[in-house]
Symmetry: C2
Subunit: 223 residues, 2 copies
DNA sequence: CACCGATGTCAATGCTGTTGACAACGGCGA
DNA sequence: TCGCCGTTGTCAACAGCATTGACATCGGTG
């Protein structure tokens, strides 16, 4: 019966995985489901990846293999904004994969390149010391991951009670005003747009970087 | 053969789960393993929890059921620091559970109470408007989750190559100086203590809150 | 043509969570 | 003391999972 109908390769398999993850969520990612998506036997995948874990690692690597398009004419603040937003958008593209990624950070080359870019912007652009830049870069990384995960949680849940910000606001508004006076009062303002929140925190970091860069170089503003 | 030796209840089961999660990681959390830890049949658990998911939700709820001890005599900055550190420490206690929690945020009452406390500090303490406080509280939440997850990633991996900051620094130092000039140069300063990083970002937020609270009250604070 | 490595297929293995039938316990009323 | 019965532990079984080894088929090379 071996009709040998389909011919697979790593890319087409990863495409199928990405398709399933996007439409049905990472929970539905089983070898059998991937096989059916490809129209092939599930175990055929093992001819191209050692196991499921390796397959997902490759997918994560592919997610970060294209870097942001940065206009080096812009001020470093704007470049940094574009850079961070690009990383954040990777999480937006496939919310679940962020969580997945967290479990297997086999130092992907794409991530190292992103870190290198960020450090470059902080050192050459903002004029931070290497040490300052190293610290801030980790803080920025956490900022992206934190917001990305928050977004993932909001989008992930098929349960609309959790996924819909409006519903969450209503739920908080109905909380006991005795037990949770502040949360119930703040309900209308909670669960805002994740993108706005991301940008607000980004601005906060940029201001902090500007302040930190001030003291060291006395009179060096623009090159 | 039904010796009926052990007598279970929800608490003792959750204790066992927590014990296994702490010592062997969430990956080893199987009903059979939990059963063996309890010296009982795995399926006995189903007499106390509808399924594994509900069991883990209850565990997560228990993790956040005790709030931080806050000295209301202290300035709000210090109270907020204690508050955030408490939440962060929950993630430190069981790194894996943070990731677990991200997947099933069945609006735990403990988390709502934490949010309420934070909002109270921002409104009554720092003097922010309700709207400002709502925005900042989400940013703070992301801060905690982001750092918690970062910590989880560091601690989680049994693979010492990833878990050991020293090894990561060495790996980055060996990167090609052509391809990753900044990352290789910044290597000695990367992968610092997560606690320090957490506190640094906390300070950054507190400064931002102070600045944001400034405009309303004209002359209050130094200088 | 014959060969042979690469790759798809199939059956089987040992995990997993979960369920339904059964059995033992312990508290209840008589 | 008896019998009842709900609660809860036990056991065998099931479906679904990732993975493996034996086998079949393809496509290119001599």
């Amino acid at each position: 019966m071996g009709s040998q109908a389909v011919r697979l390769d790593r890319e087409s398999i990863l495409d199928a995985v990405e398709r399933i993850a996007a439409s049905e969520g990472v929970g539905k990612l089983t070898m059998r489901r991937i096989g059916s998506e490809l129209g092939a036997d599930p175990t055929a995948i093992y001819r191209h990846f050692r196991n499921k874990q390796e397959m997902l690692s490759c997918l994560a690597a592919r997610m970060f293999e294209t870097g942001p398009v940065i206009d080096r004419e812009q001020p470093w603040q704007e470049q940094l904004r574009v850079h961070l937003r690009h990383a954040f958008n990777r999480y937006r593209a496939h919310p679940d994969l962020g969580i997945l990624l967290a479990r297997q950070p086999d130092d992907l080359p794409g991530l190292v390149r992103l870190a290198d870019q960020a450090l470059g912007l902080l050192i050459d652009g903002a004029g931070l010391s290497v040490e300052q830049a190293a610290q801030i870069s980790h803080q920025l990384e956490n900022h992206v991951v934190g917001c990305g995960l928050f977004f993932a949680i909001s989008e992930y849940h098929r349960d609309p009670r959790v996924a819909d910000p409006e519903a969450m606001r209503r739920a908080y508004a109905l909380l006991s005003t005795d037990e949770y006076p502040y949360a119930s009062a703040a309900a209308p303002y909670l669960f805002g747009d994740p993108d706005e929140m991301f940008d607000r925190t980004t601005d906060l970091f940029i201001e902090a970087i500007e302040r930190q860069a001030q003291p060291a170089p006395a009179a060096e503003e623009d090159r």
